[in-house]
Each structure stands twice: as structure tokens, then as C-alpha cells.
């Protein structure tokens, strides 16, 4: 049997753990396995590793050592940021939160939960490329506004918000600013000395680190309370014995990321976008072009076909992608992000997301373009003629 080719273009969902990360984690299982809170030499050794990792990740965003809280991942970081800030403030004075319509469910559903507790939430609109309107943001802030939570790099359509401008507005009005940087971390520069941001969510498994580890940057002086109740770990903000192997792997993954990878991914991203739009009729790119788009994100709508079926054919060829189609979701609703940028239900259903990594090669992109051409044609041929009405 010939070995099947594997092209992994679903790095927005999760990534391959870099073998060097695995190697860095290895000793933390059976050699240095102490509880970082213990006082004996095993505990000391674990604590040392934990501190090293914290130092390295804090440095990557120009933050201080004690501004970085380790969590179990992006979802927990988002929850801790929003719920932690809400519970640390007096609800009778501050009960308004501003977010956008294109957030990840980790933020969206946390905000909905707060609504059920009596908070009011403003969901900012986005334009056809997925950008929020800074005037709408500023006009939405009231004296009851507690927090603005905006996704930095969008996981579906790759839009990178102008977080420097958002931060300035928040600072001007004395409102806290949380950004979900789960997709953007290491894929665009984040410097907390340049951005007026109070809280940043990050996740290890999106950057070739292990799953189940993340971090929350909390700027010194930010009023926030822990969500879990327990011991005094992580500067009293996140109780629970630290996942030292995971944290060490996360730090290693951060150290392996480089700006040359961003250039390399951008180049392949643009080749994939250009080839599909030029060579396959009736296709449309969702999200912006160029530097305001995540370097690894491609999201394209194909008229007259179902994205889930296209993804399934690509999978037969060994290509992993994902789709915003209703058929692939439990709710049978197409992606809320695509609907928010004005894509119709019908076209949203014909959408494919391809997310690259630094391990993606040019030949992988060529192979994918070739497969896309064949299967888009196959699916369109299968389709009853009268459905090919919606031109893009």
C-alpha cells in the first residue's frame, strides 16, 4: 500500500507538538516530578523549571514575571479574565461589558452567562472584513462599563484588530481591556509596553505546544479575583498544582517561534489565496488581505457547494481542513462569524478554512490547490444546475 500523503491545514484548531517541545517536557514526568509548592529538592527543582518558563513567556510579550498566570488553556484564560474581573468589582456600580459579535465561544458564552446574572453586554458589529468600528466602541462606553473584551486575531477569518487603538480608547475612559490572543500569540508581535491592554489570553496548543496549558497576562494593579477556590497558587489567582511539564513545553514552544516563520507562512498563505481565487471561478476570500490578516489563515467561500462535503473529499486525499458550514455543526447553524461579516447562509455553508503552520511546505500548498480544483469541479458537476445561481 502506498503511504497516504498528509497535509495538515487545520492549525487554527490545534497544532502538532514540535518534537523539540516533547524533548524539553520529557524530564518533567519521571525525573523532575515534584510539586512546585513543596520545599524539598524535588519541589525546588520543579519550582525552578516553573519560574524559568514564566520568565520566558513573560519576556516574549515584554511583561513582568508576576504578570503571567498559568491556566489550563485559552478557554480558562478567557473565563478567568472576564469572570474574575466581574467578581472583583461592585456590580451595583459596574455592570456593563463590551465585546464583539465575532468572539470565540469561550468569550461569547462567558458574556452570555454574565447577562444571565444581570449584567448588560454590548456586542459590537464588525465590517465586511471583520473589523470593529472604533467610534461604535467609544460611543458604547458608559460610566457603568467595566470591561472591553475583543478577540485579537480572529480564529475563523483571520482579522487582526487594531488593539493599540482599542487600548487607547479603553485607557482614556478608565475601562479594562482584555484581548483574546489565542490565535495571534507568536503570529504577530504583542508588546504590553506598546498596547494599553490589561489582560491577554494565550494558549499553548495553537503554537506547537502541548494541549491543556495556557496563560493569562494580568497587568499589575488590575482588580481581579480567582474563579476557582483552592490554594494560593499562581499569585492567588489560579489554585491547583501547576502542570509543570505542560508549562515547560509551552515555554519551549514560545522560544521556538520566530518572525521568519511569520514571513514564510504569509507567503504560502498568499499563494494559496491567489491560486484559488484566480484558478477556481466563483470563489471569495473572507476576511482582510495582507498584514491585517493572521499569517496562517485562509478562509474561502465556494459558491454552489457544501463546505462539509468539500472538506470530506479533501480528507480522502489526506488534507485536513475545517468548515464554517451548518452541516458540520451540531446546531445546523452556519458560523456566527461569517454571518456577522454579511455572508449569506447559503455562501457560509460553502466555506472552507485552511490554517497553515511553520511546518507547511510549498508542495503541500500546491497539492492542496490541485485537489481543491478537482473536487470543487466534481461537487459543482454533481449539483443540480438550478442551484448555481448565486454568483460571488
Amino acid at each position: 500500500m502506498v503511504e497516504m500523503k498528509e497535509v495538515y491545514l487545520d492549525n487554527g484548531a490545534t497544532t502538532m507538538v514540535d518534537p523539540l517541545v516533547v524533548k524539553a517536557m520529557q524530564p518533567l514526568f519521571s525525573e523532575i516530578y515534584g510539586n512546585a509548592s513543596s520545599l524539598h529538592h524535588q519541589g525546588e527543582a520543579a519550582k525552578h523549571k516553573l519560574n524559568e518558563a514564566r520568565e520566558a513567556i513573560a519576556k516574549a510579550i515584554n511583561a513582568k514575571f508576576d504578570e503571567l498566570i498559568f491556566t489550563s488553556g485559552g478557554t480558562e484564560s478567557d473565563n478567568l479574565a472576564i469572570l474574575g474581573v466581574a467578581s472583583a468589582h461592585d456590580k451595583s456600580l459596574k455592570d456593563h461589558i463590551i465585546t464583539s459579535k465575532i468572539e470565540h465561544p469561550a468569550v461569547l458564552n462567558t458574556c452570555k452567562y454574565l447577562e444571565s446574572l444581570g449584567y448588560s453586554v454590548t456586542y459590537l458589529d464588525v465590517d465586511t472584513e471583520g473589523f470593529i468600528d472604533l467610534d461604535q466602541l467609544e460611543n458604547s462606553i458608559t460610566d457603568r462599563t467595566l470591561l472591553v473584551s475583543i478577540i485579537h486575531g480572529n480564529n475563523e477569518i483571520g482579522t487582526i484588530q487594531d488593539v493599540e487603538a482599542i487600548g487607547k480608547i479603553c485607557k482614556k475612559h478608565g475601562v479594562l481591556f482584555h484581548m483574546d490572543a489565542v490565535q495571534s500569540f507568536t503570529k504577530t508581535s504583542i508588546d504590553v509596553k506598546k498596547i494599553d491592554v490589561d489582560l491577554i489570553s494565550m494558549s499553548s496548543h495553537k503554537i506547537h505546544g502541548p494541549k491543556g496549558v495556557g496563560a493569562l497576562f494580568v497587568r499589575k494593579g488590575t482588580k481581579i479575583a480567582s474563579v476557582f477556590k483552592g490554594g494560593g497558587h499562581e499569585f492567588k489567582l489560579r489554585p491547583g498544582t501547576e502542570n509543570v511539564p505542560g508549562i515547560v513545553g509551552f515555554a519551549k514552544a514560545v522560544s521556538l517561534a520566530s518572525s521568519s516563520h511569520i514571513k514564510q507562512m504569509s507567503k504560502l498563505r498568499d499563494k494559496l489565496i491567489r491560486s484559488v481565487l484566480d484558478e477556481i471561478p466563483n470563489t471569495k476570500l473572507n476576511g482582510p488581505k495582507g498584514d491585517r490578516r493572521l499569517c496562517n489563515n485562509v478562509n474561502i467561500s465556494f459558491a454552489s457547494l457544501e463546505g462539509e462535503a468539500l472538506g470530506a473529499y479533501l480528507d480522502i486525499e489526506g488534507i485536513c481542513t475545517s468548515t464554517g458550514s451548518a452541516c458540520s455543526s451540531q446546531t445546523l447553524e452556519p458560523s456566527h462569524v461569517l454571518l456577522s461579516i454579511g455572508v449569506s447562509h447559503e455562501i457560509a455553508n460553502g466555506t472552507l478554512r485552511m490554517t497553515l503552520s511553520r511546518f507547511t511546505k510549498e508542495e503541500d500548498i500546491d497539492y492542496t490547490i490541485d485537489a481543491l480544483k478537482r473536487y470543487v469541479e466534481k461537487l459543482r458537476k454533481m449539483s443540480p444546475i438550478n442551484t448555481i445561481i448565486k454568483k460571488l
Binding site: 462535503a309 447559503e346 443540480p384 438550478n386
Partner: protein, 121 residues
């Protein structure tokens, strides 16, 4: 899913005896079914060909192909009795959330048969 890799009886019958198109507004699936009917030596009406065009997801494509395979060679009376559940079962089952996709193929066939009977009378 083997049927999905190579769906059978995809396309059109130029001189079809009956045809029906059905759309599912919820997820946007559309299916067009055409049938060819001939009388056998006992005078019974038999579906000799069935072709389908599908706009939809994996389950819709697979179920439309399976439906055509199940119905070719059957008499019109037998074919009318084909149920959505039987198509899904022949496919090897579908997750509940996907049942709506396979529902389309048996219903689209019924429309094609209705169209045939109307034309004939």
C-alpha cells in the same frame, strides 16, 4: 464512507419519465431526482434508471446515491414505499443531527414518482 467517495447514478436523464426537486431550507441541501420507467413482460411499471443531482453535505450525497441503487429495478409501487429510515439504514446509519439530509432523498424520489404519474394520467 465508500458511497461518498464514488457516488453512483449522478447526472441527468435527458428523456426522463418523471422528475422531482426538493430543497431543505435549514441547511441548504437541494436534490433533483429523475426516473425512467418501463413496463416489464407482466405489464408492471419498473424503474429502469434513476439519476440524481445533489447540492449538499456528505450525508446528502451518500444517501442520494444509496437511494438510486435501492430503487433501480423496483416497480413504481415498491419504490413508493421506500422510506427515509430505510435509506439511512442501508447507508449504515446516520447521526441524529444528520437525519434531515437523508430524509431528502426518499422524499425527492416520491416527488419524481408523483410527477411521472401525473404525466401518465
Amino acid at each position: 464512507m465508500e458511497v461518498f467517495k464514488n457516488p453512483q447514478n449522478v447526472g441527468e436523464i435527458p428523456d426522463a419519465d418523471g422528475e422531482g426537486t426538493l430543497g431543505n431550507p435549514k441547511c441548504g441541501d437541494v436534490m433533483k431526482v429523475q426516473i425512467k420507467v418501463e413496463k416489464d413482460d407482466k405489464g408492471k411499471e419498473v424503474i429502469t434508471d434513476c439519476k440524481v443531482q445533489t447540492f449538499g453535505c456528505v450525508a446528502a450525497i451518500a444517501s442520494s446515491s444509496t437511494m438510486t441503487d435501492m430503487v433501480i429495478g423496483k416497480t413504481v409501487e415498491e419504490a413508493k414505499k421506500l422510506t427515509n429510515a430505510e435509506v439511512a439504514e442501508e447507508l449504515g446509519g446516520l447521526p441524529p443531527v444528520k437525519m434531515h439530509c437523508s430524509n431528502l432523498s426518499a422524499d425527492a424520489l416520491k416527488k419524481a414518482i408523483e410527477n411521472y404519474e401525473k404525466k401518465r394520467s
